[in-house]
Subunit: 610 residues, 2 copies
Amino acid sequence: MRTSIATVSLSGSLTEKLTAASRAGFDGVEIFENDLLASPLTPEEIRDRCADLGLSIDLYQPMRDIEAVPSDEFARNLRRAERKFQLMRRLGADTVLVCSSVSPLAVDDDVLAARQLRQLAEVAQQFGMRVAYEALAWGRHVSTYDHAWRIVERADHPALGTCLDSFHILARGSDPKGIQDLPGEKIFFLQLADAPLLAMDVLQWSRHHRCFPGQGGFDVAGLLRHVLSTGYDGPLSLEVFNDVFRQAEAGPTAVDARRSLLVLQESVGAASLPAPVVPTGVAFAELVTPDAQPLAALLGALGFARTARHRGKPVDLWQQGEARILVNTGPSGLPHSRLRSSGGTPIDGTGLAALGLESPDPAGAARRAEALLAPVLPRRRAPQDVPLDAVAAPDGTELFFCATDRLELPNWLTDFEDLEHTREASNVHRIDHLALTQPWHHFDEAALFHRSVLGLQAQQSVDVADPYGLLRSRAVTNADGSVRIALTVGAAPTDDTVHAQHIALATDDVVAAARRFREAGGHLLPIPGNYYDDLAARFDLTEEELATYRELGILYDRDEHGVFRHCYTHTVGRVFFELVQRDTGYRGYGAQNAPVRLAAQHAAGGVTGG
Amino acid sequence: MRTSIATVSLSGSLTEKLTAASRAGFDGVEIFENDLLASPLTPEEIRDRCADLGLSIDLYQPMRDIEAVPSDEFARNLRRAERKFQLMRRLGADTVLVCSSVSPLAVDDDVLAARQLRQLAEVAQQFGMRVAYEALAWGRHVSTYDHAWRIVERADHPALGTCLDSFHILARGSDPKGIQDLPGEKIFFLQLADAPLLAMDVLQWSRHHRCFPGQGGFDVAGLLRHVLSTGYDGPLSLEVFNDVFRQAEAGPTAVDARRSLLVLQESVGAASLPAPVVPTGVAFAELVTPDAQPLAALLGALGFARTARHRGKPVDLWQQGEARILVNTGPSGLPHSRLRSSGGTPIDGTGLAALGLESPDPAGAARRAEALLAPVLPRRRAPQDVPLDAVAAPDGTELFFCATDRLELPNWLTDFEDLEHTREASNVHRIDHLALTQPWHHFDEAALFHRSVLGLQAQQSVDVADPYGLLRSRAVTNADGSVRIALTVGAAPTDDTVHAQHIALATDDVVAAARRFREAGGHLLPIPGNYYDDLAARFDLTEEELATYRELGILYDRDEHGVFRHCYTHTVGRVFFELVQRDTGYRGYGAQNAPVRLAAQHAAGGVTGG
């Protein structure tokens, strides 16, 4: 099916929008009138630009407040429409969107509306144009798709059809089932948008909070199935008004948009993509650092041993149980220069650069990622390296698809040479979860990426109060919880504070692990005494248990399924570690305790977040 | 009356919050439990810190999900409450807020609720504490203030009273009139917050969008009058959850908060402030620049003559009709180093630094500003200068209160020495309006400042689509429109783009003024041809009129009262000028045209905004 996007969905000048849409692989665009008005290009130049970029102009929009008005007003409207048809001819567009009137002059009279729309269609036809009539959810008299359709049906003109918009239909709570009964050839256009489920004024909701299909709470796929059942064969077109996308770079937003349409098409059986290959575990986390010593000290205190070294690069493998951390002192792509702690002091560039995910089919996982427009990374960095499939996530984290224990497949461990080491009694057995701070403008994109490309499940988004602003956090996980990634985003885009990433390590005995860490010279994040007084009030903990937690800075949470105990190390660069003792049933990440932890990190002067 | 503020209303660590509240002149604070939990200070240290800062601890809050539960659950709740009373004793707080339960365990049984609250009050009394019971707007069974009061009345215990919160009452649409019937001594606490009138889920509205009284749409003053009529003599306390204030610096937010309370007290006759002295015109606008030449060329082309020079400083006065522009090449306080155009190129520090406002009583205006916590500036910069009253607005703009034509008062013109100049035929007669871009975190503060300190009226806020994000704009004006200031704020806090300020000059003939400017070598902002095709479709303009507008880049708007024609000069530093021909009745600023203008400015590579 052809895909299209309204220029209003992307930021920048019209030229930037068209370029971004083309590069992301869209077949066409809707030209939003204000984008045309503000462009220094003539309509002919826009037409040529689109042609050069391989984009058709599928719709010109919107034409407002046309129908069901007194005749002198309608005469003026027709003259206005003629001007627009002339413009559309220059532009090479043949369909115009007319949205239901919000004018105080409009009357509640379907017969009049149909008669005037028929007249409009008659004029359109003389120009070789078609009119697609759409019900705005806040239209004065026409606000539902079935009402708009009844008027189109009554007008009965070949150049008049209807336009369906998933936002207007689903935000009103209309049942999209009735779409099945529409004749497909009279659906002239289909606009798709999703939105988070907010109880708010529908006009504000529409103008500020729309998002791409799969990023909100609407059943856009269900609606699309009904539309396709009518035989509709026009484009699937995205029309999204979103305050964040307006500020974001057009290029990544267009890719995110097209990815959402690909997933949507797959979900209704209209596109066949390589099947998702859900990761089954975390093979490794790779940290880059200008100086390995502070990380080596931290990992050593946590009980990791340096077990191997890369044959060709300055990369060490640290291991404990199934938890593997790579420490890379080679040049990294992380932006060092602007990193600042919350206190404003510059920090070094130590950060999380890559994740290895255990995959039942690394090549298949990479094929799906590529089909979903993820940037594919070179399989080999150096001629002697083992070839590995890898892609980049929206935040720049490199994702390697690994098969650590399957000898028949290329194994990343082959690049490493074992080092002598003593294996001590271990407290940590694997990575419980990773927390990755996302670029502010790409939080929704990140969740959709991890869901669609990796086949992970996205959990509910939660607000977390940092002393200097609200953070939002949303976890993506596989079914058995062996892969958990918490995606976090700050309160607002700002370069002043870089929030940290962190690695949570699973232990069966957080008290022992914390003690061992401290005895080995590690610094545990100190937690205020007031927190423990509150724990005592909220939970029936023994005095001894409380005293232990208080001594070590262990935080405590409990839900109906189990208990979660966790504590934090000091921070190196923008990375810190968490020790986590998780009861099987407990599904969360201790979000309840995050404000206390964040305040403690601010007090300690380090970077915060994750 | 005593004033207080909840620590949750301010950003930062508890210490930062307390310091900001004290410096802004609050008498006390409500300690929000999470702020205490996250603080490394012990309760005793917090108590001492407050005492040192001259702050009483008026409330500890909140205690949740206490009442109307099964007896075993209530027993646990009582134990939890006892722990909190112990804590409050250490803290030196004697009143706790209990908010109506949202627990699924709570039952709809007022008799049980009253009995359990009475038991709680009994325990509180043993500790010398009082319980203030409040209806949350989203409480499970108790969500209105009158319902909460009926339960308190039924419980009938001296240590149990009610807490009223203007947000919970007004957001529910409850009639606050019934408050009059409450016995004042049973209102244990009063929390005040305003909010913009949004149709949205009340919990989200409350948690993210509260603001200080006078910044939203609620009649907080009306509610306060009812409360005071009961004889309530406790503190007026602000409790505001706001995503923006959470990120803003605590110091300015606390000042903004206390200013809002002062204005509120004045409006109910509970405080007497010096009366507002509404400005009657714009005496001058002062630009600072590292290099006078580009501004001199621009002003000259606009028809301004350099008429006078400051006796002691490198400041020139440029005049045309009643429009006066000062050009200051002295050192300025503007932050130069980080200024960037939207294209990323560094720009010079040319900017608007000060405004002279004609005042019927400059000294009175300054007294009111000082009473409302505006930073008062020195009356004399140099010993020989005329003493002038001046204060700083929240965006740092210096506001001088002037009496240009009143010989009996100190006159700023006395500092200037006339220069010889030729007076040409003039097109511009005065400053129509000024557009000032506000710091992102202080937009609501700015509107309240201009309203309360200067006595201007605030108009509705409008959204304006810039190609790279939505702007918001709100005008403040005096009654006859001789002072109009458009306050604008960008889409998000960011250092990458500095939005411009601009000065709009009133003319009776924008066509002649634009031609003259162009002939004198000025550059008019080019407006796309597509804009004029659209004008032709929307309005009945003659071909000749259209051609003239198209030639000169004149924009056109019309409302039911009249026509507005305007065009823009090129930008110097972060300042540009607008030529404005305004029909008497037209009240706006051509917001409809702003997206086209902004796109044209981006295309021209200059700073945008205002």
